[in-house]
């Protein structure tokens, strides 16, 4: 499993100092400083436009930071971003699934991208589809699935390669009560999972948070 090849990190899982990101002249994310140890959960709160999604995309190495320092799993961004690939499970607004492939085909595709052996991948995919109660819908094309079903598949895709760090942007989006409960088993706190979770629902996640980061529009972020 790729998890065995994870970059060995003895320091904090996440260490940010004055991290910022600009889009042209506009500052989308400014002055974020926070530390997070392995196995902890950081809940990121803030109004629309505060930079929550931008923060996750920077941590996922999908965006380059404009300023400050970001150390993720011991890797300095952006210079050592390549070392992080395969160690992050990213669940964004888009499910990152091809509409014309089935759920199972999508998961096989991602498994191959992450270098998971065929037999091992089939076992892992079956296990995950069962975990989100999708084993009977695994052969359906993504375009035929409801938004909630796609989110369940996206969660499977996010944890398929057993990432060391989960970056979750509104993970409960489109999920019903059963879906939220099933998802919690895969991406919830505990079992040593290190998570950065963006939400608009602080009450729901308050109990899970080891740390809380509040982002504000045009203001410096405050870590609590």
């Amino acid at each position: 499993m790729p998890g065995a090849d994870h970059h060995q990190n003895t320091g904090p899982a996440l260490s940010l100092e004055g991290l910022s990101r600009d889009y042209g002249e506009r500052r989308a994310l400014g002055g974020v400083s926070v530390e997070l140890d392995a196995g902890e959960s950081l809940v990121v709160l803030g109004p629309n436009g505060a930079g929550k999604t931008t923060l996750l995309r920077v941590l996922a190495t999908l965006l380059r930071p404009s300023g400050g320092r970001a150390l993720v799993l011991g890797c300095e961004l952006p210079d050592e971003a390549w070392k992080l690939r395969g160690q992050i499970g990213y669940l964004g607004h888009e499910p990152l699934l091809y509409r014309d492939l089935s759920g199972r085909e999508n998961l096989r595709f991602h498994a191959r991208l992450h270098g998971i052996e065929r037999n091992e991948a089939e076992e892992r995919i079956a296990e995950l589809l069962e975990a989100v109660a999708m084993e009977r819908r695994g052969e359906d094309r993504v375009v035929e699935l409801s938004a909630g079903m796609r989110q369940r598949l996206a969660i499977c895709r996010c944890v398929l390669h057993r990432p060391a760090l989960l970056l979750l942007d509104e993970p409960d989006s489109n999920l019903d009560a059963e879906g939220r409960e099933l998802a919690r088993r895969l991406i919830g706190p505990g079992e040593g999972r290190t998570r950065v979770l963006v939400t608009h629902d602080p009450e729901r996640y308050a109990a899970d948070a080891d740390r809380v980061l509040r982002l504000a529009v045009d203001e410096r972020a405050v870590a609590a």
Partner: protein, 226 residues
């Protein structure tokens, strides 16, 4: 890192499976080519073509049909998150360039399997020039696949994608088209294929392919950066 051949096979298989399932590119490319041949047949009011004119009709039609496929090459990656998925995986990003260029090469080959026999049926007296034409088609397709993949990956983030691809691609493939028509023209002469400067034109095509494959390999990583 995931072995490049594994990632390459995964991306290529995904693209071919998606095309087989949705038929979004190939039928449109083939239909465009056949319709254009019909238009040429009536517009030129000729039942047979040879030499430069035959080569020009064949290559201009194939090129514009190819543009349809090139336009759509990265649409799924852009709209369905494929770019992000590949950037998150421990994969050498140039593998995406290689896989996409190969997929485009396969699309062009399938297009030509349909379009060239139709062209021969409409315009050629004899099929004697077709076997050596395969070498020209293969080399020109390689160049088109390399250039088309590069331009398509740059244009896909633009809302004016459909406009940008032909505007940027067509000037870049002028040398390729000159060499392809130069090599094709003697093959389609009346009275049987000739091989005047055939080898030279094939060498030019090969050089063009090499240059654009290397350029694609060198710059593709930067094109995927935010």
């Amino acid at each position: 890192m995931t072995p490049s051949r594994t990632a390459f096979a995964a991306i290529l298989a995904k693209d071919l499976r998606a095309e087989l399932r949705t038929l979004q590119s190939l039928p449109a490319m083939a239909l465009f080519a056949i319709t254009t041949f019909v238009i040429f047949r009536f517009a030129l009011d000729r039942t047979t073509l040879s030499g430069n004119l035959a080569a020009g009709v064949l290559w201009s039609t194939l090129l514009f049909a190819a543009v349809l496929g090139i336009n759509r090459l990265f649409v799924a990656e852009r709209e369905e998150g494929g770019f992000d998925a590949i950037r998150l995986a421990p994969v050498d990003r140039t593998v995406l360039f290689a896989a996409k260029a190969t997929a485009l090469f396969v699309f062009l080959a399938v297009l030509e399997l349909i379009a060239v026999p139709v062209f021969a049926l409409f315009f050629l007296d004899s099929g004697a020039g077709l076997p050596p034409l395969v070498a020209v088609l293969v080399l020109a397709d390689l160049g088109l696949a390399a250039t088309g993949t590069l331009i398509s990956s740059m244009a896909v983030n633009s809302r004016a994608r459909d406009l940008l691809v032909p505007l940027v691609l067509l000037p870049l493939v002028v040398p390729l088209m000159i060499a392809a028509t130069g090599a094709t023209s003697p093959l389609l002469e009346l009275g049987g294929p000739g091989y005047e400067r055939f080898g030279t034109w094939l060498a030019v095509l090969g050089l063009y392919d090499l240059i654009f494959l290397l350029v694609g390999y060198a710059v593709f990583d930067f094109l995927l950066e935010d």
